[in-house]
């Protein structure tokens, strides 16, 4: 039977995965110190060690978690999410939308049909925005990389602050009643009444979705991960320890707005930016400033704004960027203050 193969293979791979992951550090040390026979402690050796250890670690984490995320996501279609959000009161709606933004499959190329599908079936504008902010900002690649390179605490902080920003910003946009800044044709378009029956999926189909997600996402981001970690590895060995303190350290009050200002037009996916941020922190950048920089790069991207221009008038796009950027700065200052 088909499902046998689909279920047995991951079960067999799991222990292999675990053993490799568990012994990655000794394997790395062994291949560098013994096989290559490099001298310990030199800049080159430590840069290489950083790369050879982090690269497989991050890729293995990505493959494993994206596999499960792919399976979980097969339960959350945009259609189902819309059904949940229809007719919800604003605040509850904002919270739900932001959380659903994490689990619903989202790609910026689908932002327009998604926006139209939400707004026209009566999901309030502010609630739709909560979704649109959370979906790209809190994506699985960002969270996995944060977990891999900083540990679960930072990953959790990122998720919680991202959610807070998405909920609050969406709620504020809803309160401001900006519906007149949505392009006029949006509310005139009628969506068709195609039947909404969900695809019936067997467990083996969902597992296949998991495989496909791994193939698609890891196939796309590995190169960014490699470049990000290579830059990180170079800086790890060659950049002086306190290099970033004056620029992105806690005491530099201007560092937070500056990071956001630089981060918004910068467009990179999470896979490339997290390894670089990990080195910024190692070299003395503070957590709040780095978090703000990362959120600005990942959460607000120029290509997505250009896509959204089709359905939103410019003042609404600017308000949207302004409110989210403001939220990110508050997070930055807050974390610099606490830690």
């Amino acid at each position: 039977m088909n499902w046998n193969k689909n279920i047995v293979i991951p079960l067999l791979l799991l222990p292999v995965w675990y053993l490799t992951y568990h012994y990655l550090q000794p394997i790395t040390d062994w291949s560098i110190d013994i096989v290559l026979g490099l001298e310990k402690g030199t800049r080159f050796t430590e840069s290489l060690r950083f790369f050879i250890f982090e690269m497989p670690k991050v890729l293995m984490l990505l493959a494993l978690i994206i596999f499960f995320v792919g399976i979980i996501r097969s339960y959350f279609s945009p259609e189902r999410t819309r059904k949940i959000l229809e007719g919800k009161s604003t605040f509850t709606g904002n919270i739900l939308a932001a959380m659903l933004g994490i689990v619903t499959p989202f790609c910026s190329c689908s932002a327009i049909p998604l926006f139209l599908g939400f707004v026209e079936s009566g999901v309030p504008l502010g609630v739709t925005f909560s979704f649109l902010i959370a979906a790209p900002m809190i994506n699985e690649v960002a969270v996995i990389l944060l977990f891999g390179m900083f540990g679960w605490k930072v990953a959790l902080i990122y998720i919680l602050t991202g959610l807070t920003i998405a909920i609050t910003a969406g709620w504020v946009i809803g309160k401001l009643k900006l519906e007149h800044w949505v392009q006029d044709w949006v509310y005139q378009t009628k969506i068709g009444n195609n039947d909404e029956s969900e695809e019936k999926l067997k467990l083996s189909d969902r597992i296949r979705f998991g495989y496909n997600a791994v193939k698609e996402i890891v196939g796309k981001v590995w190169i960014y991960v490699a470049v990000g970690i290579a830059v990180g590895a170079g800086a790890h060995g060659y950049v002086p320890q306190d290099f970033m303190v004056s620029l992105m350290g806690k005491s530099a009050w201007y560092s937070v707005p500056l990071s956001v200002l630089i981060g918004v037009p910068l467009y990179s996916n999470a896979a490339g930016i997290v390894p670089i941020v990990s080195v910024l922190i190692e070299k003395g950048a503070s957590l709040g400033t780095s978090l703000a920089f990362m959120m600005a790069v990942i959460g607000l991207s120029l290509p997505e704004m250009i896509i959204l221009k089709k359905v939103l008038k410019l003042p609404l796009i600017l308000t949207f960027i302004g409110i989210v950027a403001f939220g990110i700065m508050i997070v930055g200052y807050l974390f610099n203050f606490i830690f």
Binding site: P78, C109, S110, P113, L116, F118, E120
Partner: protein, 78 residues
Amino acid sequence: MDIKILGSGCAKCKTLEKLTREVVEQNGFNATITKVEDIVDIMKYNIMSTPALVVNEKVEIKGRIPSADEIKQVLSKY
């Protein structure tokens, strides 16, 4: 049969179109394939994630790229 590929020009939509054409050609299905790129037309099918495969006005697959086998299975029903 009348096949439509819905998608506003993203990479995935092009992949789906190419794949569908290949399947139709290889299996000798008698079909016309049209690409629907206008967002207003796409919304008539009430889908929220592209690309989508529509056969005789029925949405068969949405939001993902199916395998060639799956497309073949879907088309065989018509």
